[in-house]
């Protein structure tokens, strides 16, 4: 049987075996042999306009599906451009495999044209990385890369492949096993600990579920729903976990943290048992850690042992895949129900009353105005059109926080944003990846006028593939979050916060061959968004919103829940 093929072709065969249907990239000198092999291979290569966006698009694909996203870049500048996306995937635990070209093995270390130490540069921003030294290793390494990226706590893996390895000829024989003796994946969770957790949950008078991105990574939404329903507990989802429990679920409170709701943060602070599922007690959630949830006993379930006790020492740690742990925990909770359900019923009813009271006392603000479009109004309208069903990607900043507060997500994998790293320019390219992954879905990307201008090159990708993405620019003429912090913490000395130039959206979109429009009147908002959604192709809607609106509530960095600022300061004296 003749199965002699080039390393480039072999790589594509490995990708096919891993179930890859498309990947995102940008060609260059040393990856030309790969692109020559792609020419007549069924795997689809999506040409983006910047390597960083290839990485973000692969993340969008992965975040929308749970499958491994793949991106590809050439050596040197191509590889270095991937770095931001790799760190982003690392911070948010997103499974991606990045393929980079490298100069031929004989030239490595000679400062060859477009040479960079990709293996060294990406060591600390990947879950693991590889450099393929010879063709014999290629297949094994590629399959190991996919396995590492997608198992355990997911993350980015990079495979650096020199040009001569792409060109070398060898025999393709499928690799069927992976052996990584040092790679420890903890899945099952300690049965005794899980049983103790179930008892602790029933013993609680003020139980509280704090669910994060781990629920989404593990596909444990159904188990989460059952848990909160059996015990009837309030639950919050973090920025990374929105959609893990449907936003329309009666037990869903909202998002906690720096810009979380009053009720979510008060609940976090006042509960007596906190069930932390697939979360990492991020500083943006906890505020000052010493003052966080002072009276709570914490049950912490995470697949990564290094997360246990990293920021908050749990009273009951469980290391395991949150889906499997919850499956077992559900059985224990059911078994214990008859003996325990009445015990704290009265205090739980009082707790719910308190939580509902907090929600009513300080709901998330949705102000509207007759003269200007309030950013919250924009989010509320997008929410109306989405009905909790659309994929919404965002950039980073004020629009991201308002989106997270006010748009409902009734399934996991709908809300896609750069949570841990907070990378501007993420929204549009991740929407591209998400739309390729879910062609059936309505995809909005909500971006600020700052982040949008970091990703403008990708308008060409959107246009050339005819992706029906609805690009909504929340344009306040500022780097809004920078302005908000300069106002609040730097004596209103606004420095480099104003963006006084923004292109004409109609002309800009028109230049790429699709529709665009700018609006600034509240009465235009609903119809303009509806028009964008009706449009079969891409649409760029530039929404000029009130320039000085700030995101509230806000727990300033390093502060505690009781230092929460609920709204803008009252004007001091009229004189």
């Amino acid at each position: 049987m003749s199965n002699l093929m080039s390393g480039a072709k072999m790589l594509l065969e490995c990708l096919a075996k891993e179930g890859v249907d498309c990947f995102f990239g940008y060609p260059g000198g040393v990856t030309l042999p790969l692109y020559d092999a792609i020419y007549d291979h069924p795997i689809r290569h999506i040409l983006v306009r910047h390597e960083e966006n290839a990485c973000f698009a692969a993340e969008g694909y992965a975040r929308a599906t749970g499958k491994v996203g793949v991106c590809c870049a050439t050596s040197g500048p191509g590889a270095t451009n991937l770095v931001t996306g790799l760190v982003d995937a690392m911070m948010d635990s997103i499974p991606i495999v990045a393929i980079t070209g490298q100069v031929p093995t004989k030239l490595i270390g000679s400062d060859a044209f477009q040479e960079a130490d990709t293996f060294g540069i990406t060591r600390s921003c990947t879950k693991h990385n590889f450099m393929v030294q010879k063709l014999d290793e290629l297949q094994q390494i590629v399959h190991e890369a996919f396995y590492i990226a997608s198992s355990g706590r997911p993350g980015p893996v990079l495979v650096d492949i020199p040009k001569d390895v792409f060109l070398a000829q060898g025999h393709y024989a499928p690799v069927n096993t992976i052996h990584l003796p040092g790679y420890k994946v903890f899945t099952e969770g300690h049965a005794g600990q899980i049983r103790r957790a179930a008892q602790m949950i029933w013993d609680a008078e003020r139980p509280w579920v704090y669910a994060g991105g781990g629920i989404i990574a593990a596909g444990a939404s159904e188990e989460l729903r059952q848990l909160v329903e059996i015990v009837d507990m309030p639950a919050v989802c973090t920025l990374m976990g929105l959609g893990a429990l449907s936003s329309d679920h009666p037990n869903f409170v909202s998002m906690p943290g720096m810009h979380g709701s009053y009720a979510a943060n008060m609940g976090m602070s006042n509960c007596d048992v906190m069930i932390a599922l697939g979360v990492r007690f991020d500083d943006r959630v906890t505020g000052r850690i010493a003052a966080f949830a002072p009276n709570a006993k914490v049950i912490h379930v995470d697949i990564d042992p290094a997360e246990i006790g990293k920021n908050r020492a749990p009273d009951l740690p469980i290391v395991g895949d949150v889906k499997r742990v919850l499956q077992k925990m559900l059985r224990n909770v059911e078994e214990l129900k008859p003996a325990n359900v009445e015990k704290n019923a009265a205090s739980r009813r009082a707790w719910w009353k308190q939580v509902r009271g907090w929600k009513e006392e300080h709901p998330l603000a949705r102000p509207t105005s007759d003269t200007e479009i309030k950013p919250q109004h924009l989010m509320a309208e997008i929410d109306r059109l989405s009905g909790g069903q659309a994929i919404v990607t965002s950039d980073v900043g004020q629009h991201q926080m308002w989106g997270a507060q006010l748009i409902r997500f009734n399934e996991p994998r709908l809300w896609i944003n750069s949570g841990g790293l907070g990378a501007m320019g993420f929204g549009l390219p991740s929407a591209i990846g998400a739309q390729f992954a879910r062609p059936d879905k309505l995809v909005f990307t909500i971006v600020g006028d700052g982040g949008f201008q970091m990703s403008i090159p990708e308008l060409a990708t959107v246009a050339s593939y005819g992706l029906p993405i609805k690009i909504i620019v929340m344009n306040n003429g500022y780097l809004g979050m920078i302005r908000q912090w300069q106002e609040l913490f730097y004596n209103n000395r606004l420095c480099s916060a104003q963006l006084d130039c923004f292109p004409d959206a109609e002309k800009l979109a028109g230049a790429y061959g699709f529709k665009g429009r700018t609006i600034d009147k509240p009465h235009e908002l609903a119809s303009a968004l509806e028009e964008a959604v009706r449009e079969p192709g891409p649409y760029l809607l530039n929404v000029r919103v009130s320039p000085n609106e700030n995101v509230y509530p806000m727990i300033p960095a390093g502060c505690a829940v009781n230092e929460m600022v609920l709204g803008p300061p009252e004007p001091v004296g009229a004189a």
Binding site: K17, V68, M131, T177, L180, A217, K310
Partner: protein
Amino acid sequence: MLQVISLLLENKPGALLRVTGLLSARGYNIESLTVARTLDPELSRMTIVVDVDPALRSQVIKQMNKLINVLQAVDLTETPSVCRDMVLVRVRTVQESRTAVLKEAEIFGARVISSAVDGFVLEASGAPEKLEEFIQVMRSYGESDVTRAGTVAMSLETKKLRLQPPVPTRADAKLEQTNGVLNA
């Protein structure tokens, strides 16, 4: 207090850098590091002595254990273990002190590696604190150059090595994807 970490890791390019990178990324300075092949040539044993805030020690060990190339990382600071260091000392000494130097060397169990008219090269091994004394004594006899090998440590307890068994690649995995992560 210094933390002593013993690691068993794959003998592969870049593995050392992954371990030390965890420390340098957190601003920790390595006091000593030794690494060499084990009986199994595919594995290396590494001993690191590093100044880590006590509250963060277990986090550092956990992060090391997460590295794909690391089979096991163990904190030996507060477990029964032995630590040894080796030192080469070149001491320049005058004719009259030669006998005294040799006598001192004997007390510390040091051996003469090289002898010349202007002095000796001595080799000593032992507990790191003992070698510190040895070096001080030798310096009192004259100008000395010192090369230390770094601490090597061994646990007195056998800690079970937990290794990941081989797994099938994706197309051969008939069941739900590994760990429920790929729940497309």
